[in-house]
């Protein structure tokens, strides 16, 4: 047995962060991925170097228009995603051109030596947490550029949102693939909020990735960044709907309430006594009522709990009107309900045929009349053209008022309508950015398949 322990000089070196020098400008290059990066971009001289080459051979040199492109999450920052710490090791800016306008976005490469690589994308304040798919999705309904109308992955269907060409403008840090400024890929996004399934196609290969939407606040918390995240503008393709209420759920609640309301309506209708309390027919003559036209009826009794009292007026008007001032007066308490009702009916013929307007009867419901002894005071006013007319007055106690159910239904309808409207405008906003924008209301274009 050998005495002492010889140094373990022969085994593979313990992985260390490598500090090297850029062969072009001498700036410090740090490799943090323990040999897993393919390329690394020098932050000072914009050279892309071969990270697997001990001499860091130069692969590409690029220029940028502004020196102002800076990652929102600085390289080297560590953050916790899904319970694992990741370090930001790479950053790139890409853009797609739609109708002549370039739309840039940013991607971050994250690394954990035990979990591998992960990516973050950021566009207009919207973030996505992205990993490469291990299982391949299946695409349905193929059309242009090899993309389909939908894609299926792990039991979910994703709808086609957009196919564009992505161009790489700027890179910084390490990448697990051979990145080049100016490289192009056809990117197709399929969405199933909050997720997005993306295929990236170069002439060499196709890569599928799955992204999950993240809010700027979550990113800032995960990476403990100072200040506030940039505001999210508009609705992003896989942004989850902010409605905490399920649209379907609220409509189901409405349906349940509507059924309940209907049951109440039927129930109260059955319970209502609808007692006939007073009925009288009168004959009015102008000559006889030249002095005081008002009169009072005999007493009648209202029994039971306070209830509605329906007053029905009928008058034999023909192209005339009649107006009755009513007062329902409690004999003992002196309480009265005072109102006037008009009965008018007109009819005739013209070029369109016969017409009629108004009605010979009128109904009014007096609310919450307590029990007791009552009489009616009636004061008729009659169309000057009439000299005599018959009319009848009928009182019924405890009748149901259906109009209240209508109001209740409308009140219950407002919240689900508002929720649906909000959901609808949100989704419209989402899809207006896609290859399948919703139909323009002004009638300019129908949903078109713009290829960008």
């Amino acid at each position: 047995m050998s005495a002492g322990k010889p140094p373990l000089s022969g085994g593979p070196p313990r992985p260390q962060v490598k500090a090297l020098q850029c062969p072009k400008c001498g700036a410090a290059i740090v490799l943090r991925t323990f040999g897993q990066a393919e390329t690394v971009a020098c932050g000072s001289c914009r050279a892309i170097l071969d990270a697997k080459d001990p001499n860091l051979a130069i692969l590409q040199q690029f220029e940028i228009e502004t020196s102002d492109i800076r990652p929102l999450i600085p390289l080297g920052t560590r953050g916790k995603l899904h319970g694992t710490d990741y370090e930001v090791i790479g950053f790139e800016r890409r853009h797609a051109t739609v109708e002549g306008i370039p739309y840039p976005w940013h991607e971050y490469v994250l690394f954990n030596p035990y979990k591998g690589f992960r990516y973050l994308s950021e566009y207009n304040g919207h973030w996505n947490d992205i990993t490469i798919c291990k299982d391949l999705p299946s695409v349905e309904g193929g059309f242009s550029a090899g993309s389909g109308s939908a894609a299926n992955w792990v039991g979910e269907t994703y709808k086609h949102f957009q196919t564009t060409e992505a161009n790489t403008d700027f890179v910084l840090g390490e990448f697990p693939w051979r990145v080049r400024v100016g490289e192009r890929a056809t990117v197709t996004d399929y969405v199933h909020p909050p997720r997005v399934l993306s295929s990236e196609k170069t002439d060499k290969e196709v890569t599928w990735s799955i992204g999950e939407y993240m809010y700027g606040r979550e990113i800032w918390d995960a990476f403990r960044l100072p200040g506030s995240p940039p505001e999210a503008e508009g609705v992003y393709e896989n942004q989850p709907s902010p409605l905490t209420t399920n649209v379907q759920g609220i409509w189901m609640a409405f349906a349940a309430f509507a059924v309940f309301l209907l049951a109440m309506m039927i129930g109260f209708d059955l319970l209502a006594k609808k007692e006939a309390v007073f009925q009288q027919t009168y004959h009015w003559e102008r000559a006889k009522t030249a002095g005081e036209s008002s009169f009072v009826t005999d007493n009648f009794e209202l029994k039971g709990h306070p209830s509605t009292v329906e007053l029905k007026t009928w008058a034999a008007v023909s192209n005339q009107w009649m107006y009755l001032n009513y007062a329902l007066i409690n004999q003992d308490t002196g309480q009265a309900w005072d109102f006037g009702r008009e009965v008018s009916y007109y009819q005739g013929y013209d070029s369109d045929g016969s017409w009629s307007e108004g009605s010979r009867d009128d109904t009014v419901v007096i609310p919450s009349v307590p029990p007791g002894q009552y009489y009616l005071r009636i004061e008729p006013e009659v169309d000057p053209a009439v000299s005599a007319i018959s009319y009848s007055v009928q009182l019924t106690r405890d009748v149901p008022v259906l109009g209240i159910y209508g109001i209740a239904l409308l009140a219950l309808l407002v919240p689900p309508l508002l929720v649906s409207l909000r959901w609808y405008t949100f989704e419209r906003s989402r899809w207006s950015e896609s290859d399948h924008p919703p139909v323009q209301i002004s009638g300019l274009t129908a949903s078109s398949e713009d290829d960008d």
Partner: protein, 210 residues
């Protein structure tokens, strides 16, 4: 069960075999490849330094596969046009020998199979189907590779190979098979893809700063 121990014939360092049926091991100190004969250890060659890599797995990493624990005892490193990959030799707790392959962060566990009548490499094309042990496999990748190095204990002699061909096949529900043409007689390994998390690996490599 005592672990057989011996001394390295080249440098005298103590060699301990974790697996009783190991045929070959590598002396960690002098990088000599040692083959076990009935009597003693024989040096057959020397292995060059393995390329630096970021694999989190190392010798004596432990894990669980299908409710059986295992220990990583050896390794073969291959290189191909897109980089390198490792075949880790693992010892299951029931004494069986298995392989954990690690390529582009995809992991698979497979076991040696004694199926006869394996096809010659030249006759196999992508898309061909084979049925072994009642399972259907379709050829997915043909990889010309070359041997890069070995580490630890292996159940056979394996060193200084030059170019070898590997043919990978995929079956349903994550099943995986490999035809290994390192030797004149093809060897078949049957297994399945596994998720890194499901292996519940312990004693992983330590990375600076992590």
């Amino acid at each position: 069960m005592t672990q057989p121990a011996a001394n390295c014939p080249n440098c005298g360092a103590r060699i301990v075999f974790k697996w009783s049926s190991s045929v070959q091991t590598v002396c960690e100190y002098c990088k000599s490849i040692l083959v076990r004969t009935d009597a003693d250890l024989k040096k057959v060659g020397r292995v060059a330094d393995l390329p630096p890599d970021g694999s989190p797995i190392q010798l004596s990493t432990e894990g669980i596969y299908r409710n059986k624990s295992f220990v990583v005892v050896g390794r073969i490193v291959y290189e191909y046009d897109q980089g390198a990959w490792s075949e880790w030799h693992v010892m299951m707790n029931d004494g069986a020998s298995a392989w954990l392959s690690e390529a582009q962060q995809e992991y698979a566990v497979s076991f040696s199979s004694t199926t006869p009548n394996l096809p010659a490499a030249a006759k196999v094309e992508i898309g061909h189907e084979f049925t072994w042990n009642g399972q259907r496999y379709t050829v997915s990748v043909i990889t010309p590779a070359h041997y890069r190095g070995v580490q630890g204990e292996l159940p056979f002699q394996y060193w200084d190979k030059s170019d070898v061909t590997f043919i990978d096949l995929r079956g349903e529900t994550g099943r995986f098979a490999t035809l290994d043409y390192s030797d004149p007689e093809p060897a078949l390994y049957l297994g399945e893809f596994v998720e890194f998390e499901d292996l519940k690996l312990k004693n992983l490599r330590r990375f600076e700063g992590w």
